[in-house]
């Protein structure tokens, strides 16, 4: 890739035009900025700018465009596919200082935010106002624009959908510095191509999000969870489509296996309510009255018991809630702590294929003699499987990882699944995306990328560019 090298003159431009306290270069850039949470690839930017306004972003982009410098946007860096890593160096725009909630509109039920607002700040703010922002990805310290850029999913997708469903409007800076408004504080839109929907999930390759208008819903008054143990994973997973088929829609339907729970217990130093069974599903229900929620979970509890559940634990005390949900929240980190290195597969399959898919992964573990712990969103078919390096040497690890991925993605495609349910493609999953979509579709994506970014300066080598 033929980019201009970042030189003295470029540096001077940024030092002169931006607040020195928000510009970092060379040794001033912390190691964190060279990778994301998964850490499978690493590269430092030449310069890091902590921007505070749309105008600043526009100024950076214009400069980058005029001088042909590669540029990457970064939120909190909690991504898992290397999407925010500046593989060619150059400029990194960090959004975490653009963390203001700009407006809460209780008539139109929207909140307008800057891109760097953290998910946890947003949920707290709206809930304090008796409103609810439903998307609930595991990592609460991710930025909202990071969530939008990866179309983050999370636990409540079964009932409430994913981030895409809550984005009404975006302000974006194009790679040449021009500012565009897409969508607005409105519910419906048939005004030309769905550019807003194209930007959602585009992993910072098409433009930089500098403001978002998000849809809110009234805060459900009552929430309760059920923890349901089963003797085998297959039984647990088989219940899920039956619950849906019986027309119940829990807010969340997560599955977990004993092994993963034990890691989390150890990692957190906290006890899980029960660890006697091989597999569990965790169901959450919400609604506006106690009666409504109870009626719903009561019939689901019976359904589970008829389908082989060993028991049903009601998670209603604060203590139980905390032990269950903090364990669920810690799975990724706990697995990560159990092995020197790992890589992830975030496939999504139709929900009635979840059981078959996990059985397949168990067989693969045995066949290859490796560990593939997993957990996931049973209700929407999105699974997270982690291939653990454990004691493998470099060569074996690389070979094993590739073979395991080939098998896992191959199986997902066979089931009409997709490469990623919520973590995106980034740098790490491009090959599998290509395998799934084929050349023709990949070329369309490259064409779209060119229409937005003719000089290919924004987050090069990601998503569709191999």
């Amino acid at each position: 890739m033929d980019y201009k090298k970042f030189d003295e003159q470029d540096l001077n431009f940024f030092l002169e035009n931006f607040d020195r306290k928000r510009v970092f270069y060379g040794k001033e850039i912390r190691e964190d900025y060279s990778h994301d949470e998964m850490g499978t690839i690493a590269h430092y930017p030449d310069i890091l700018i902590q921007v505070v306004s749309t105008e600043e972003v526009s100024k950076v982009m214009k400069y980058a465009y005029d001088h042909h410098l590669p540029t990457v946007v970064r939120g909190s860096g909690t991504g898992l596919v290397g999407a925010c890593v500046p593989v060619f160096g150059g400029i990194m725009i960090e959004t975490t200082l653009m963390n203001h909630i700009l407006e809460l509109d209780t008539d139109n039920l929207t909140v307008t935010v800057e891109p760097g607002v953290l998910l946890m700040e947003l949920s707290k703010y709206v809930e304090d106002n008796d409103l609810f922002y439903p998307p609930d990805p595991g990592e609460k310290s991710a930025t909202i624009a990071g969530n939008i850029s990866t179309n983050a999913g999370g636990m409540r997708a079964v009932k409430y959908g994913v981030t895409r469903d809550y984005v009404r409007g975006l302000t974006v800076v194009m790679p040449d510095g021009q500012v565009l408004e897409l969508g607005g504080k409105i519910v419906k839109n048939s005004s030309g191509y769905g550019l807003k929907d194209l930007v959602i999930g585009s992993e910072g390759t098409l433009c930089v999000i500098t403001k978002a208008i998000l849809k809110l819903v009234p805060l459900p008054q009552k929430t309760i969870s059920l923890l349901v143990p089963f003797d085998s994973f297959s039984e647990a997973a088989a219940v899920v489509p039956k619950i849906i088929k019986a027309k119940h829609i829990p807010t969340a339907m997560e599955f977990m296996e004993r092994g993963t729970i034990l890691f989390a217990e150890e990692f957190l130093g906290k006890k899980f309510p029960d660890t006697n069974s091989a597999a569990y599903i965790l169901l959450t229900f919400d609604g506006n009255s106690k009666e409504q929620v109870e009626a719903e979970y009561d019939s689901v509890a019976h359904l589970c018991l008829n389908e082989g559940a060993k028991d049903v634990f009601i998670v209603d005390t604060d203590e139980r809630k905390d032990s269950v949900w903090s364990a669920r929240g810690a799975f990724l980190e706990a697995i990560k702590a159990s092995t020197p290195e790992m890589d992830e597969c975030d496939v999504v399959v139709p929900r009635n294929r979840v059981a078959d898919y996990i059985d397949f992964s168990h067989d693969l573990e045995k066949k290859m003699g490796i560990r593939i712990p997993s957990f996931g969103h049973a209700g929407d078919g999105n699974l997270h499987l982690y291939i653990c390096r454990d004691k493998m040497d470099d060569v074996t690890w690389k070979r094993t990882l590739k073979e395991a991925f080939d098998q896992l993605y191959g199986k997902a495609f066979e089931f009409d699944g997709c490469v990623s349910g919520e973590h995106g493609i980034g740098y790490a999953k491009r090959n599998y995306l290509e395998e799934d979509y084929g050349d023709y579709t990949m070329n369309l994506m490259v064409g779209i990328k060119k229409a937005f970014d003719p000089n290919n300066i924004l987050n090069p080598q990601k998503v569709c560019e191999c």
């Binding site: 191509y193 997709c418 937005f452």
Partner: protein, 477 residues
């Protein structure tokens, strides 16, 4: 302006097309005049030279490929109920109609999806789903549109306030691209972050990026019970001010429409029905809200109705009429569904704007639009989706010259779209851009946005043969 050249259909090309779609090709006089326009003829009429009544994806692909090789313009056509000139073949050429591809291919009840061909009518899909105990939530007014047309315009409808628009129900589709390539976008799965969402790009692209030949749609469990309320107000302002109060009180109506008195009067006359109260407790009714709620039991609904009644009365409604018999509910909605037809029947020259504004801005917008009536010399009728801020404003005249009407309308539209922009709204909530609204879209979104859209169009359609002159790509007149 375009630099793309198109060719005329020759007898050789017709022969090739006939070989590709044997028995499904109509030429010249064999084509019915209906194929020259949609429901809003004011945006111009044009006949296609060749009409294909396609029956399979492969047939569509084969015809597309011939047209691409020969640079013949192609226009996709559904039921032709569009309101912005989308399915009109401005340059003649080939039209591919999907109305013969009207099969419901099957349900998958564990994943809650149904797979259909594009020419299935909305009405048929809705009824078939009900038989399965399911609901396909999008509910645009025109029930005899094709679902392929609905997807291509991202049709909205009455239930958008609770259930969202067509976009929210499309999981996957098979598309024939302008080059004749067959691609599949999306999957049965319920979420994905796998590259750019070409599925979402295709939705609402009005037949300019590809021809949809099969779709997998999300369906939901059919709510067990529904009930409607007619709520009369003295003034529109009060009616609209109620809307946010529903949501804040945890009431989630399935539909929430507003109607002004004059439009209701006209429509009742047109239908020969008398459903809506005109005067109550000595007060002359000026506007109505029509709301439908759904739930899992009659009891639940009674609670909802009670709460909703409190909310609207507190917000200044004159009274509340609960449509608790199926007959009354049907009648109340029959009037709502016939508003446009009644306007059409009473008007010789008609144009429309389908803006969407933040809900709270509805009264301000309509007051402004009405205030322009006199200076432009036409009558303005309006109604719309109160719950989602999507308004349909009609300019109607029975005595103007057409040229004068068009000039006045253009001027009027510029002003009201500017007003919508100022209020944070958009040009089209659900009817699309077609050719009728392209000029305004240009003003509205600006050159950068238009350039990106055209850039995307060129990626999908290198010869610009698919539905030229629509949305973002202008042709020389």
């Amino acid at each position: 302006m375009s630099s793309y050249q198109y060719n005329q259909v020759t007898p050789e090309i017709i022969e090739a097309i006939k070989a590709a779609a044997p028995g499904h090709v109509l030429v010249g006089d064999q084509i019915n005049e209906d194929y020259s326009h949609d429901e809003m003829s004011i945006y111009g009429k044009a006949m296609p030279d060749v009409l294909i009544e396609a029956t399979t994806t492969e047939e569509v692909a084969a015809v597309m490929k011939i047209c691409n090789d020969n640079k013949i313009p192609v226009t996709p056509s559904g039921a032709r109920t569009a309101l912005t000139g989308g399915p009109v073949s401005l340059l003649g050429g080939v039209m591919i109609s999907t109305t013969k591809m009207n099969k419901i291919l099957g349900y998958d009840k564990e994943n809650f999806v149904v797979t259909i061909q594009p020419g299935v009518l909305l009405n048929d899909l809705a009824e078939d789903c009900l038989k399965q105990g399911l609901m396909y939530p999008p509910d645009p007014g025109e029930k005899f549109a094709t679902v392929g047309g609905n997807v291509s315009t991202n049709a909205g409808g009455m239930r958008a306030v609770k259930y969202g628009t067509t976009r929210d129900y499309v999981r996957a589709m098979t598309v024939v691209l302008p080059t004749g390539e067959i691609v599949h976008e999306g999957a049965t799965v319920s979420k994905t972050s796998s590259g750019y969402s070409l599925l979402n790009l295709m939705i609402g692209s009005e037949g300019t990026l590809g021809i949809i030949t099969e779709m997998t749609l999300k369906v939901i469990a059919n709510p067990k019970a529904t009930i409607s309320m007619i709520v009369p107000y003295e003034k529109l302002d009060d009616a609209i001010a109620t809307v946010p109060k529903f949501f804040l009180n945890h009431l989630s109506p399935q539909a929430l429409e507003f109607m002004e008195r004059d439009v209701v009067d006209d429509t009742e006359k047109f239908l020969g029905k008398n459903v809506y109260p005109k005067q109550m407790e000595g007060t002359e009714v000026g506007a109505y809200v029509l709301a439908t709620f759904d739930g899992n039991s009659e009891d639940e609904l009674m609670d909802i109705v009670e709460k909703a009644s409190e909310v609207v009365l507190e917000a200044g409604a004159i009274d509340v009429l609960v449509a608790d018999t199926p007959q009354l509910m049907r009648d109340a909605w029959a009037v709502r569904s016939a508003l446009l037809e009644a306007i059409e029947a009473n008007t010789t020259l008609l144009d429309e704007c389908d803006v969407v504004v933040p809900v709270t801005k509805i009264p301000e917008f309509l007051t402004y639009a009405k205030s322009l009536e006199k200076e432009h010399g036409f009558t303005i009728k309006s109604f719309g989706h109160a719950g989602d801020g999507n308004l349909h404003v009609y300019t109607c005249s029975n005595d103007m010259e057409e040229a004068e009407f068009n000039k006045q309308v253009e001027d009027f539209m510029k002003k009201v779209y500017a007003k919508a922009t100022e209020e944070g709204g958009l040009i089209s909530g659900e009817h699309g851009i077609g050719c009728g609204k392209m000029e305004y879209l240009k003003d509205f979104v600006g050159p950068v946005n238009m350039r990106i859209m055209k850039g995307i169009k060129e990626v999908f359609d290198p010869n610009m043969i698919l539905n030229p002159g629509k949305v973002c790509y202008e042709i020389q007149k």
